[in-house]
């Protein structure tokens, strides 16, 4: 398992569950201060397919929201413990609550 990762490389990477199915893409991460450091508590996962991503992006735009279309950014927070980084190009999650779908 690598010890250092480039976070900017992670953005947009597909996340798979333990069956190998793509369940979303990494869009961002939630960080919290801990001691003098900042640690990642959750990774924020967004939709996987192109069209859904486009819709999410457009819906998020405050511009469109202000004229009545679209809605809040809907990213699912996945706790850091769920992630398996053995292949950083193909991150996967090992816990499997029902909200994956």
């Amino acid at each position: 398992m690598p010890t250092r990762l480039r976070f900017d490389h992670l953005i947009g990477k597909e996340v798979r569950n333990s069956h190998g199915r793509v369940i979303g893409r990494i869009e961002d991460a939630r960080i919290e201060p801990e001691g003098g450091e900042y640690v990642i508590t959750h990774f924020l996962i967004g939709p996987a397919e192109g069209l859904a991503r486009l819709r999410a992006f457009l819906g998020e735009l405050p511009t469109l929201r202000s004229i009545g279309l679209g809605k809040e950014r809907n990213l699912r927070p996945f706790p850091w413990q769920w992630f398996d980084w053995s292949d950083p190009n193909r991150p996967s999650v090992s816990a499997e609550p029902a909200l994956h779908e």
């Binding site: 953005i11 405050p62 511009t63 202000s66 004229i67």
Partner: protein
């Protein structure tokens, strides 16, 4: 007291700085070809740019970010490269048009062909920026720019029918030559809603250390400054309409254009036309060159500033130097400045969604604007105009070229 001075300066810049190669060329062509019919296009463009300028100023005052800075942060480098490349390319063509405009003014004054003036003009523009005291230069250029008020005098001398002009604030369909009508309308919008104006404005607001206390000043400058500026553009259209359209003459050669002032005002009209063209375009060239450098420097986090020694902002200085050099070379090739200008304006209109939408997105983000996010009216107005202008440009540009210009 200080704020009143700022307002005064802003207004002077707005009035004197509104007219440049694009608005002059497109307004004159519109007046000559279609009489007063296209006044609505100038009004629409002016309203749009007033909104955008106010937004750029508000962004700077509240978030302490310039527009390119905020765009890179909000969208990430990947998406930022799209508006970056588009705006740099379009702005470059407009810069060349402005240098062409000054060169043309010198040709009208001296008879020496415009392309031979291009190196001198480019050098002069570059020198004034290299002298790194742009605040002073800007004030001078703005004051000198007031010479463009002569178009109002000309329009008055020609007995401009205010009622008839006013009635054309309502858009109307073309009676003939549809392709040219829409192409001209779209070019006028492109001339009014030039991205360089609001990108430059946001940098200025940061340099002047604006804060939330300046939001009122910002609104006045944007509204009144652009409003008065738009009136000058309408005056150009009116003069052209009364001098050319009424007699059925078309503008085919730029040597004809000074007539729009020479006819009502005689020899002084000609002189002041040449002065207006030269000064307005020169001022715009300075701003656009700086704006291109701002966009690149602010997008990449480099040092930038209008009053910094070149050696202290080397990459920034290199960008404007390179832009001016290439723009000057382009005019030196002898390319028709009038055609280049009108084409750049149409291209600007075509690219409006790419240049304007990122600003709109940022302007609605509470992370940047807090409580001062856009009102939905401003969003809708600007979005609608940009999209429509783009769609019309998409259709009108090829038609114009197929029909021959």
């Amino acid at each position: 007291m200080n704020k009143l001075v700022e307002i005064a300066l802003g207004l002077v810049t707005g009035i004197g700085g509104f007219l440049e190669a694009g608005s002059l060329a497109t307004s004159a062509q519109a007046g000559a070809s279609f009489g007063f019919q296209l006044v609505w296009a100038i009004a629409l463009g002016t309203i749009c740019i007033a909104f955008l300028i106010e937004m750029a100023g508000r962004l700077a005052a509240v978030s302490k970010h310039t527009l390119p800075d905020a765009m890179r942060e909000r969208f990430g480098i990947r998406f930022f490269t799209v508006p970056l490349v588009v705006v740099v390319l379009v702005s470059f063509l407009v810069l060349a048009s402005e240098i062409g405009g000054v060169s043309l003014a010198l040709q009208l004054a001296t008879g020496i062909r415009f392309q031979w003036w291009a190196p001198a003009v480019a050098l002069a523009v570059w020198l004034l920026l290299w002298a790194h005291n742009f605040s002073l230069v800007e004030k001078g250029a703005s004051l000198l720019g007031l010479v463009t008020l002569v178009f109002l005098v000309g329009a008055h001398k020609l007995h401009a029918p205010l009622g008839e002009i006013g009635s054309n604030l309502i858009p109307s369909l073309p009676r003939e030559d549809s392709a040219k009508y829409w192409f001209t309308a779209v070019s006028i919008i492109g001339a009014s809603v030039s991205p360089y104006l609001f990108y430059f404005y946001s940098a200025g607001a940061i340099e002047d250390h604006w804060d939330e206390g300046y939001l009122g000043v910002n609104r006045v400058i944007a509204g009144l400054g652009m409003g008065f500026g738009g009136t000058v553009a309408v005056a150009v259209l009116v003069c052209a309409a009364l001098v050319f359209h009424t007699s059925g003459v078309q503008i085919d050669r730029y040597e004809q254009i000074p007539l729009i002032l020479a006819q009502p005002l005689g020899r002084w009209g000609f002189i002041l036309f040449v002065a207006s063209l030269g000064i307005a375009c020169f001022g715009a060239a300075l701003e656009i060159a700086l704006q291109i450098a701002y966009l690149v420097a602010q997008g990449f986090g480099w040092k930038w500033g209008e009053n910094i020694r070149p050696s202290q902002a080397a990459r920034f200085s290199l960008v404007y130097t390179g832009a001016i050099l290439l723009a000057g070379l382009l005019i030196l090739t002898g390319i028709d400045p009038l055609k280049l200008t009108v084409f750049s304006m149409a291209l600007t209109a075509l690219s409006l969604p790419v240049t304007v939408v990122p600003l709109l997105i940022v302007m609605n983000d509470p992370e940047y604007l807090g409580d001062n996010v856009n009102h939905w009216i401003a969003n809708t107005a600007v979005l609608v105009v940009s999209v429509i202008a783009c769609v019309v440009a998409l259709v009108a540009i090829p038609l114009q070229f197929l029909g021959g210009s």
